[in-house]
Amino acid sequence: MDKRNVVIIGGGPAGLAAAIGAYEAGERDILILEREPKLGGILNQCIHNGFGLHTFKEELTGPEYANRFIRKVKELGIEYKLETTVISFDKNKVITAVNEKDGLIKIQAKAVVLCCGCRERPRGGINIAGCRSAGIYSAGTAQKLVNIEGYMPGKEIVILGSGDIGLIMARRMTFEGAKVKACVELMPYSSGLNRNIVQCLKDFDIPLLFSHTVVDIKGEGRVKSVVIAEVDEKLVPKMETAREITCDTLLLSVGLIPENELAKQAGVELSPVTNGATVDDRMMTNLDGVFECGNVLHVHDLVDFVSEESELAGKCAAKYVIGGGFEADGGTKVETYGGVRYCVPQIIEHNDDYEPFPLKMRVSNVFRNVYLRVYADGQLVAQKKKQISTPGEMETISLKAEQVEALRKAKEIKVGLEENK
């Protein structure tokens, strides 16, 4: 069995940044395992721009953004294995992976950073009735077919869900000559970024129908039409409003699910809200020496924040190895209230020699004119005023050293949303 210090599962944006973070914290024995033939993960198929505004203060395409990290990983001489799939992972941090060249390999790691990303929720996950014809794709699959393989998955498109990939694909398909007939969103608001709604739908006069859903898909070999209907407050379709839209393709952008199958195998505790691990401010899960970051931890809107979070996770993994583990001093659970659905990290450690960290959260509805507030033992520690806060945009509260200090000492930490009175 191979022995490695830090093994990073996944060579997408999270894995790359985690590797660099670990290197910069002084660790040299790092191995990235990536199942695709290329590092960079999903960024490779995101050929639109808008990446890197926070990290590099410029607008890059997905591959350009990825390449900056890939170049750095190569410059630093960090080892990686491509086309290598991890098939199992256990609580003793033993990783089993396979590839064509090495066959089956087993690695005993001192620290593992899970950077497995997320998957798209399939049709089955939202119970859309109808035919099982060709022409029903998740938006990301269509994106890969168009941007990587160079094929058109359809000509007349309806998109269900207004997640970012769906919005991006509305524009991409339009650029490539397809007709996008509508983008249908179950909720009364979008789960995508506002800038994408403007740049991908409005600029192309693609109608965005809120509080609507697809109630039937018709077709035999190939999709011929979809039936859409308005939904009531309980999200139940009002069948009297049903109408049919002719199309040959239905793209689904109905949510992303963190890929925590390996984490579950090993016994990593998951949050039912994020579907990712429960982590402390060092990005460590309940399993000693197992870290998680990026979209496998919680789904992000912007890759810049994935990189930031993952760099921290990588640094902490390196520190864990270099220091021979962390001293367990317990921590305080971060409780949320008033419309804040979750906060990452979920636990703040009492020890005070760790890296500073931000608090990241999502709200459960559209709120206007509110404060996001952080309390330590009842004392207001930090706050952020928001004109508007929506479920589609992750909120971040950056913390200064003294604020981190206050949280580390606290026995009760609350993060929530309050009206601006």
């Binding site: 396979v98 066959g103 399939p122 699959t141 000559g177 898909i217 070999g221």
Partner: protein
């Protein structure tokens, strides 16, 4: 002139084909879809019923019990997934106890061994997720589960390897008996002649019968809708959980599949369009909420897909099997609905024997009744994996991450006897695309492999045959 034409490549047609292959004969299977197992054989509960359910004295009861006993050996010989997992018939009321006893007695009459009536608590000891409202249950240890499409594929491949021919995309439009006693089967593509015909056309078997026989039959398509749950929830049921039929309906089942998912369903609705297999909002809700009576903690968020299949329900209630009195040489397997999957091997044996006797066919000495399935990487031990990759490095290349299916398996699925020619065919043979992401990640790669090994362009790759092309063209 062929010895026999089998109409329909579902589980019954393929079981008949495999049994006929034991004899020196020329046999052709005509199938209207692009692959075997495309009708009800791919969309059912996958249960090998023990045989307590059918009324004593019926053909259903007879073939059920016989078929069920054949499965363990068949699964070994033909290498398809089968497991004896036991079943419970759950009773939710005091009044139901009497009916449960009737079922028990019926099982004894049908020759099903080992059944026992248990209290609700005893059931929950064995199946902890069963509802508190269950007061008693009939435990049926002989009940099993099978992968219905993989069993059908196995029958077909083995028949093919023993010389049976298959023609796909052939919709039978007419069957005519000539003066010399032979048959002409007309399809939308051409004509085929044979000395005998076996009708295994599922929901359309009445139409086939009615072309040649004066004794008319009527088959009603009885639709069953299902939902399938992520393997992550496979712990919810170890045995198959039936519900005791009540005035409220026959109930639905909750069962593990041979691959570890949880299957829920079916509904039962008689429909006019026999080929209508779309799922419906009402059907799915009904299947799920009814199943939740058995297992209250069934999670909606665990659903990964839904599907439906149409049972060939004979209005008289029983299977119609054997040669037509008024049409010698024409054999029916008609109205083969549940327990049809269980019965299929036994039906296959008897019909093949009847055809062989009619034609005076001799048993072959060189019949090979064993078939090796695709080696599934996911179910190998680590030692087997090391060896597999050594033999073929493409076993080290995982294409479908959710079900851990490798490139080697997908190539095998295309290139083997009667191999897959479309994406659904790959899915049924290898499970690529059957997992929790439902082919989101692996579709482009699987398409590439199908295109390469079937020798077509990417734009010609289909989901399930002509008209279901996945792409509309190349990017300009």
């Amino acid at each position: 002139m062929l010895d026999c034409i089998i109409i329909g490549a579902g589980v019954v047609g393929c079981a008949v084909a495999r049994e006929l292959a034991r004899y020196s004969s020329s046999v052709l299977v005509l199938e209207r879809f692009n692959d075997v197992s495309c009708g009800a054989s791919k969309a059912n509960s996958g249960i090998v019923h023990a045989g307590f359910d059918a009324h004593p004295g019926t053909r259903k009861a007879f073939y059920n019990v016989r078929g069920a006993k054949m499965y363990p050996l068949l699964a070994k010989e033909l290498d398809f997934p089968y497991r004896r997992n036991g079943a419970f018939v759950l009773n939710f009321s005091e009044e139901g106890n009497e009916k449960l006893k009737e079922l028990y007695d019926q099982g004894v009459k049908n020759g099903v061994e080992g059944n026992v009536i248990l209290s609700g608590d005893e059931v929950r000891k064995m199946e902890p997720y069963v509802s508190d409202k269950v007061v008693s249950a009939l435990y049926v240890p002989a009940s099993g589960i099978v992968s219905p499409y993989e069993a059908t594929i196995a029958f077909a491949e083995n028949a093919f390897d023993n010389g049976v021919k298959f023609e796909f995309n052939q919709t039978v439009k007419d069957v005519v008996k000539s003066a010399d006693g032979t048959f002409t089967v007309r399809t939308d593509k051409g004509e085929f002649c044979a000395k005998t015909v076996v009708n295994c056309a599922g929901v359309h078997s009445d139409e086939i019968n009615n072309y040649v026989s004066k004794t008319k039959e009527k088959i009603v398509a009885r639709k069953g809708e299902y939902v399938l749950l992520d393997k992550a929830y496979g712990y919810l049921a170890g045995a198959t959980l039936f519900q005791l039929p009540t005035a409220m309906g026959k109930g639905v089942l909750v069962s593990p599949t041979t691959h570890g998912n949880i299957i829920v369903g079916p509904t039962a609705d008689d429909i006019d369009d026999k080929d209508y297999v779309d799922t419906t909002y009402a059907g799915l809700s009904k299947a799920f909420s009814q199943a939740a009576l058995s297992v209250p903690s069934l999670p909606r968020r665990g659903i990964i897909t839904q599907f439906s299949g149409n049972r060939a329900h004979n209005v008289t209630g029983d299977f119609v099997l054997g040669e037509r009195e008024d049409c010698k040489g024409f054999f029916n397997a008609l109205g083969v609905e549940s327990p049809g999957l269980t019965s299929a091997p036994a039906i296959g044996q008897d019909l093949a024997k009847l055809v062989a006797d009619r034609l005076g066919l001799k048993e072959r000495k060189d019949f090979n009744g064993t078939r090796k399935g695709i080696k599934h990487f996911a179910t190998m031990s680590d030692e087997e994996r090391v060896e597999a990759i050594k033999q073929n490095p493409l076993y080290g290349k995982v294409v479908c991450r959710c079900e851990v299916v490798t490139e080697a398996e997908i190539i095998d699925a295309v290139t083997r006897s009667l191999g897959a020619r479309d994406m659904d065919g790959i899915k049924r043979r290898t499970r690529a695309g059957m997992g929790r992401c439902q082919s989101g990640f692996c579709t482009p790669k699987v398409m590439e492999i199908v295109a390469k090994y079937t020798g077509v362009d990417m734009t010609q790759v289909t989901k399930k045959g002509a008209g279901s092309e996945l792409l509309t063209g190349r990017k300009e």
